[in-house]
């Protein structure tokens, strides 16, 4: 029965193939795509049931279809792995993914290329499942590249539009996402090489079907080795591998310093933002670290750096989210910030907490994006929050769902976000003994609540600022997926509720993480955090729904700019990283490329080699034509000259 795990990615792949080759109608494409992800979800449940029957010390299903690569010692299986960690990821991908697919049927209605959209969405789900189900690093890399490709394709879905709100060129945004991700991909490849050369295998765990060893249980054996960089000194092997993986994570999960692609990725359709750029793909970096926890647990690993990157990204992302004026960009920076929480958690070794937040965030961030999409859809494709206002009366359902998502994200008791975020903060304070990280995270949490309050206030409260808008509530196809997600976001904390810690127990066969003993101190910390968050949330709401409401004008700066000045400007542009990269890398690169293209390609190869060769050949041919006079005497002369030369050569040689 273990082979059924192959059905999980097979369904979306089938959906992709059918949508790409057979289906021509929008409605059919949407239904097919959703049904395929739904089947995949059902298969995941079935696989989880099968998984329960395996012994706890070897709780995993594996199935190798064939030996993918076999070159001497380099042997890679084309095999899938299904263990509790994979199970929760697959459940998130297919569950939330399925809901978003259904939502997209409504959202993408009337789009110019709906079939292509659904085909790519299914392809994405397939690639994402390959990523989380791969039983070796190379197959994971295939999925890793696959999701990157789908991300590129779907961000550029509106490639025929010059700009989408807020002034992004979709094609440029897609290219940017792809190129920035390549940095991380290259690092992952390098990590892969380092792992193969030192462990001799790329399988995570021993593969009984092909007789391959796994590298994760050998981490201790090679922990002491170093890589010699010659003049640059030596680097412990574990540091090198985990550092490279961290770069990969920074690319895929939008961490410092590579997060700049994510805000622009909002150029894609909103369901894409919800699925790929909030709930699933961007979390694959966190998954990568959790899967390789055995490496990050080694003393020489780069785990402290992971923590630093995570914490700083969380803070930076949250501050940038405060000053955004586009409804989706707020959520994009918020995603960067929340991913920072997860990365910080896994950097501290709190893998279960990281996974916990990954799951709850997947629910409420998807909900927020879908609700934002519902707003955008309802007011005629407007994303500028300054045009909104007072939508709580005209879009009542959307408002309620959005409020649930915002409270969950803000970490307000008792919604899902509170529990998962608090666990990370508690871990930082009590277990990791890193009060600085904990304080920054608490602060970030408060800022998070503030910008969600601000956003809710701007969008749903106050007066309607744009009389041209005629808001209408979304239809049931869009509403029901949101309601289901909201129903998950409210009690989502239950999955790792203090004292119950179901997720912890479920993941124990993989992570062997001890249960957290809850103390009074944790309760106090949680109370402080949530009260702080509630306060800032109220502050944000009050400021933008009442105090400054009258000064929010369409096309004008945020009223807070007056009070914070350049600081606000910095937050608005995401702390200028884009600006810096543009000047430090993009422009010099473009200039160099232009130079080489002109000097070598246009003038050198095209001009001298290609054009020159053609011209010289024509010139030669013209000369020959002139010699071909048509007179026999000319021919005889040439003949004679040839004879003389030949005879001369032979006789005088």
């Amino acid at each position: 029965m273990d082979w059924i795990i192959w059905l999980i990615p097979a369904f979306p792949l089938l959906g992709f193939v059918l949508n790409a080759l057979v289906v021509r109608q929008e409605r059919q494409a949407g239904i097919l795509a959703s049904a395929m992800v739904g089947l995949s979800f059902a298969t995941t449940i079935a696989a989880m049931a099968t998984l329960e029957g395996t012994p706890a010390e070897a709780r995993r299903l594996t199935w190798t279809l064939w030996e993918w690569i076999s070159i001497d010692d380099f042997r890679v299986a084309f095999g899938l792995l299904f263990d509790p960690l994979t199970a929760v990821m697959a459940l998130l991908v297919t569950g939330v993914g399925g809901l978003i697919h259904v939502y997209a049927i409504g959202y993408m209605h009337g789009d110019a290329r709906p079939v292509r959209f659904f085909a790519y969405m299914n392809l994405f789900v397939f690639a994402m499942l390959m990523l989380v189900m791969a039983d070796n690093l190379l197959l994971l890399f295939l999925g890793w590249e696959g999701v990157g490709l789908c991300s590129f394709l779907l961000i550029g879905h509106y490639f025929d539009r010059r700009t989408v709100q807020p002034g992004i060129n979709p094609s440029d945004a897609a290219v940017k996402a792809f190129v920035v991700n390549r940095i991380g991909d290259a690092a992952l490849l390098a990590a892969l090489f380092a792992i193969f050369t030192n462990f001799g295998t790329l399988s995570f765990y021993p593969n009984p079907q092909l007789g391959l060893t796994g590298y994760l249980d050998q981490a201790i054996i090679v922990a002491g080795q170093s890589i010699d960089f010659g003049a640059f000194g030596q680097l412990p092997l574990m540091t090198a591998i985990t550092l490279l993986m961290l770069v990969a994570v920074a690319g895929k999960s939008a961490q410092l310093p590579l997060y700049t692609w994510l805000p622009d990725a909002m150029a894609g359709p909103t369901p894409v933002s919800a699925l790929i750029h909030a709930a699933t793909m961007v979390t694959s970096g966190v998954y990568l670290i959790v899967r390789n926890a055995a490496l990050f647990d080694q003393p020489a690993s780069a785990a402290p750096w992971v923590l630093v990157i995570g914490v700083v990204t969380a803070f930076i992302g949250a501050t940038a989210a405060v000053a955004q004026l586009d409804i989706k960009r707020v959520l994009a920076y918020s995603t960067i910030s929340q991913l920072g929480f997860m990365v910080a958690a896994v950097g501290m070794g709190a893998y279960v907490a990281g996974m916990f937040h990954l799951l709850t965030h997947g629910l409420f961030k998807a909900l927020l994006f879908l609700a934002a999409g519902s707003v955008i859809h309802g007011i005629g494709d407007q994303q500028d929050m300054r045009r909104m206002g007072g939508l709580r009366t005209t879009l009542p359902t959307t408002f309620r769902l959005y409020a649930i998502g915002a409270l969950a994200l803000g970490g307000i008791f008792p919604l899902a976000g509170f529990w998962s975020k608090d666990e990370i903060i508690a871990h930082a304070w009590f277990d990791a003994r890193s009060p600085l990280a904990a304080i920054v995270l608490v602060l970030t949490s408060a800022i998070t609540a503030f910008y969600m309050g601000r956003q809710t206030g701007m969008v749903f409260y106050g007066r309607p600022r744009d009389p041209a808008l005629h808001p209408h509530e979304s239809g049931p196809l869009m509403r029901w997926p949101m309601i289901i997600l909201a129903a998950g976001a409210i009690p989502g904390g239950l999955i790792n509720f203090p004292g119950l810690h179901w997720l912890n127990s479920y993941l124990r066969p993989v992570l062997q993480e001890p249960e957290v003993i809850y103390t009074l101190g944790m309760g106090v910390l949680a109370t402080i955090t949530t009260l702080l968050s509630a306060g800032t949330a109220y502050l944000g709401w009050k400021t933008y729904a009442h105090d400054l409401e009258l000064r929010i004008r369409v096309g004008k700066d945020d009223p807070a700019l007056r009070y914070l000045g350049d600081l606000w400007r910095g937050m608005e542009i995401g702390w200028g990283l884009d600006w810096l990269y543009q000047r430090a890398f993009v422009r010099p690169y473009r200039a160099a490329a232009d130079f080489f293209s002109d000097a070598f390609d246009r003038q050198g190869i095209d001009g001298v080699l290609v054009g020159g060769a053609a011209r010289s050949m024509n010139w030669l041919a013209g000369g020959l034509r002139a010699a071909q006079t048509g007179y026999v005497r000319t021919y005889a002369l040439a003949f004679l000259l040839g004879v003389i030369m030949l005879v001369a050569y032979f006789t005088l040689r």
């Binding site: 050949m617 020959l624 050569y649 006789t651």
Partner: protein, 496 residues
Amino acid sequence: MTEITIPPIDWRVATQLCIIFGWASVLLIIALFVPRSRIRVVGYLAIAGLVVAAGAGIPFWGGSAETFGGMLRLDTYSMMLNWLFLAAAAVVIAYSLNYLPKHGIEHGEYYVLVLFATAGMMLLAQGGDLIVLFLGLELLSLTLYVLTGFAYPRETSEESGMKYLLTGAFAGGFIVFGIALIYGATGSLNLAAIGDTLARAALAAEDRTYLYAGAALIVTGFGYKIAMAPFHMWAPDVYEGAPTPVAAFLSVGSKAAGFAALVRFLVEAMGSQWPVWAPALATLAIATLLLGNIGALIQNNVKRMLAYSSVGHAGYMLLGVLAAGAPGGMAGQRGVEAVLLYLLAYMLTNLGAFGVLIALEQRGELTWDINQFAGLWARRPLLASAMAICLLSLAGVPPTAGFWGKFYVFTAAWQAGFGWLTIIGILTAAIAAFYYVRIVVQMFTAEPSRETPAETDPALRAGLVIAIAGILVLGFMPAPAIDLVQRSVLATVGGQ
């Protein structure tokens, strides 16, 4: 007084030759009694004779024999070439069956002349003696002069016949002079005997000079026949003016016969002198490759372009000849095989291309402009596909026969140590691809400037189908053909 003994004659060696000669003579008389309206019957009979001759060779395959005191040879090499000549002649006659009446030049002698020319080619392939080679050459040339000028009263045909005659006579003179010099130096006309003498290095310095001068002149003469630069200048003019089936015959049969004789002379008689002649021939090969392919580059007249292209192809085959002479057994054999395989591929391809040209040719219209091919795909898709396959094969694009020909030739030349020559060959092949593909582009993408009607008849179609099928079969399954040429061994000394 010594008794003159006539050595027993092995008629098997001359069977095919006798059939063709005899049948040609008989047909000449038959043609007198066939009414003018039925003259194509002579063509059918000629084809029948060619088929019989080809079949008559089958029992002798594999052996090696000589007769008339070593003047005539039959080895697998010449047998293979004989079949090539017979097949080419049959296709050319098939092409002519409707071409001649369409252009008002239908005479029974035409078919007879083709048969005589074929016999001349076979003599060139089978000759073991310089006199026989000269005889074959003259027989071939004289009939081809007549055939070239056959489209009387068309002036271009007359002109090209005259040009061919003048330059051919010029070249023939050199060959006779060369034969005389060689006889003077070695006292023998037999190729094997000459080779033997040279191998023993039993020549005085003076004789050696005469021998080399004679060899140079003979290379000149055969070089003229294969259109080797700088003795190639007749080719474009003659091809253009000759009736198109005759041009096809010239480009295929006559060139193959020239190569047959050149290889025999250089390998059998001059094999031991390879270090002497190889540099000279290599230089000529480069000149041929460059002049042929560059000359074809600017031709808008497709018939002239094919003429120049045939000069270029002679250059590729010269690479094989160079390898054929290389010492060390294996390399030499590879070279002979390469020449034969290239000839086979080239013959199929050029016959196909000229066949399409014939289909497009209108009475009295003599432009053969590249524009006539514009939009051919839309009008006659099959014809356009056939032409495209031929052109791609000429360019040496896989999977066509031409690819394997070039591949084999380049491999042989490379193994024989002509690395730089191989590179020049590949570069000129790249140039050649340009002008071949130009026509393909015209056929498939361009809008026709003027509708050129294309007519085919069953005989022409049959010839085209044979050629195209051959190109593709050889292209996809080269193994049988390679196997065949690998069995075609040049029996070096006296039928051993």
